[in-house]
Amino acid sequence: MTELFGIPIQALFGQLMLGLVNGSFYAMLSLGLAVIFGLLGVVNFAHGALYMLGAYVAWFSMDRWGISYWWALLLGPLVVGAVGALLERTLLKRLYKLDPLYGLLLTFGLALIIQGVFQQYYGSSGQDYSSPDALQGATNLGFMVLPNYRGWVIIASLVVCFGTWFLIERTQLGALLRAGTENPALVQAFGVNVPLMVTLTYAGGAALAGLAGVLAAPVIQVSPLMGSNLIIIVFAVVVIGGMGSILGSIITGLALGLIEGLTRVFYPEASGIVVFVIMAVVLMIRPAGLFGKEK
């Protein structure tokens, strides 16, 4: 069998794989958004900018100091996480008692600043960042040829996503985090340093975005606009999935990536908008989102 619905099977699986790669980024970013929103009540508009920052850390450290991809995988999340912690401590923490809309507006301003500064230095054009030697080439899986780096992105992000899920849902630390989401005052009364937990949560979400950025650097052009293009899609993903569930955001992210890939095969013109259309349909049928709870 070399064709399915009149489409060469190689092309079909190729696009599905590409969709899964995109879906991995959606999943990692919407996961970070969900975790931050859960504890801080802030919709982090700067998430796209932080993702872009991660990619630039990888590119810059390679370009300037010859730091390899593998170290960048560590360095990127650390730098972006530190930036996140700084932003939370200096700016975001002033807004917790206010309407959550102000958090969205503040992070929107931050996104403008970060993106603007990078555009100032790098214009709007992209920088190439090559994948590490160990992951170059492709593997023939029989039904398709899989570029090694793409396979690695999918596996790595799945590990990271489910690792995060495990951390939050199955460990002592995660239990504290969930308790803090439900009732911060009570958790504080039990002697937990809630402000620190909040800072670390924001830093963690930011680090996830940074890691996604490093992972994305070799598959897309590293450019100042890469974050803002993505964040709006991720917002739609979050609306579709509902921010209430960690597992829900992972599954929604991956599924939408796949659907986008399929659309690219069967109706390429619509691939840029299919996520938004699905969002509209989901809102008509299930306003709270697929995994959300109506409050």
Partner: protein
């Protein structure tokens, strides 16, 4: 509105009437007035109904395309082009509003952002009408009612000013009507408004459509003023800018959005000559500062100060 308020508006209007004769560049004034209309529309939604739309640029820029295209390629008269642009924005507002009001708060903001992006995507790819990346350029202003040529900046200025005053009075009327009172009730306490028997969704939807239409009117005017309708007007950055104008001037006040629009447009003109592309970064910084430390905006702070002074003076000594 109290007497000081009325007086302030009268002085403001007089200033606007004489401004082009005392050396203020009419194109600047017109651009600022168009954005003031846009910001008033946005304020009607966020300031008086409590709905944060992050997609208002779609209505503003979309109407700019509709008006620009009709006047430029179909040779419609400007007033008909503007009406068509306004109606088109209203229709888009009806569709987006119907979907978006199914969620509240930040979700509402995210949904409007995503749907506006959908429209922006459409404009980007409908190149035969919108010209894609180039936009519609060289739009002729034409003759108002087929009689008065708007080619002179001064003639167009007074037309824009007249539209602005009309929009202002309309918004004033809406906010002070019983309908406007219900909107404020929804902003303050939605469950309570529901329990009092109001069909909250319908009120919100009408507010959204009104706001989208007025935003469209501003956008249509802008396409005539600058002879231009581009993708920049429909992008999310533009939606952010109108939020900044409203917030900086004073959310939920009448003068706020107008002052905010003049401040932001003035600042952009001033900065782009001096620091070039750093302007976006500086606007972002002002945005952050405004949210962290200046949430009431110019007018809000002024009103708060007046109140404090009154409270002080009213105390028996």
């Amino acid at each position: 509105m109290d007497r000081t308020g009325k007086l302030a508006w009268l002085v403001g209007l007089l200033l606007l009437i004489v401004a082009p004769f005392i050396g203020v560049y009419p194109i600047f004034l017109m651009t600022a007035l168009c954005f003031a209309i846009f910001a008033m529309a946005f304020n009607l939604l966020l300031g008086y109904t409590g709905l944060l739309s992050f997609g208002h640029a779609a209505f503003f820029g979309g109407a700019a395309y509709v008006t620009g295209w009709l006047v430029h390629s179909q040779h419609w008269t400007p007033e008909l082009g503007l009406i068509a642009g306004t109606l088109a924005a209203g229709a888009a507002g009806l569709v987006i509003g119907l979907i978006a009001i199914r969620r509240q708060g930040i979700y509402f903001a995210m949904v409007t952002l995503a749907l506006a992006q959908l429209l922006a995507f459409g404009f980007e790819h409908a190149t035969s009408i919108t010209g894609g990346e180039d936009g519609i350029q060289g739009i002729q202003r034409g003759k108002l009612f087929g009689l008065v040529s708007l080619d002179s900046d001064l003639a167009l200025y007074f037309f824009v000013l007249a539209v602005f005053v009309a929009v202002f009075l309309f918004v004033l009327r809406v906010v002070h009507s019983p309908y406007g009172q219900v909107l404020k009730a929804i902003r303050e306490n939605e469950p309570r408004a529901i329990s009092l028997g109001y069909n909250v969704d319908r009120y919100k939807l009408l507010a959204f459509v009104l706001s989208a239409s007025i935003a469209g009117l501003g956008g249509g005017l802008k396409s005539l003023v600058l002879h231009l309708a581009t993708l920049q007007d429909v992008r999310w950055e533009q939606s952010g800018e109108v939020i900044l104008m409203t917030l900086l001037g004073g959310l939920g006040t009448f003068a706020g959005p107008v002052l905010g629009a003049f401040t932001v447009i003035g600042m952009q003109n001033f900065l782009s000559d001096r620091v070039g592309s750093w302007t976006g970064v500086i606007i972002g910084c002002i945005f952050v500062l405004c949210v962290v430390a200046f949430r009431k905006g110019f007018v809000g702070e002024l009103l708060a100060w007046q109140k404090r002074r009154k409270a002080k003076g009213g105390k028996p000594s």
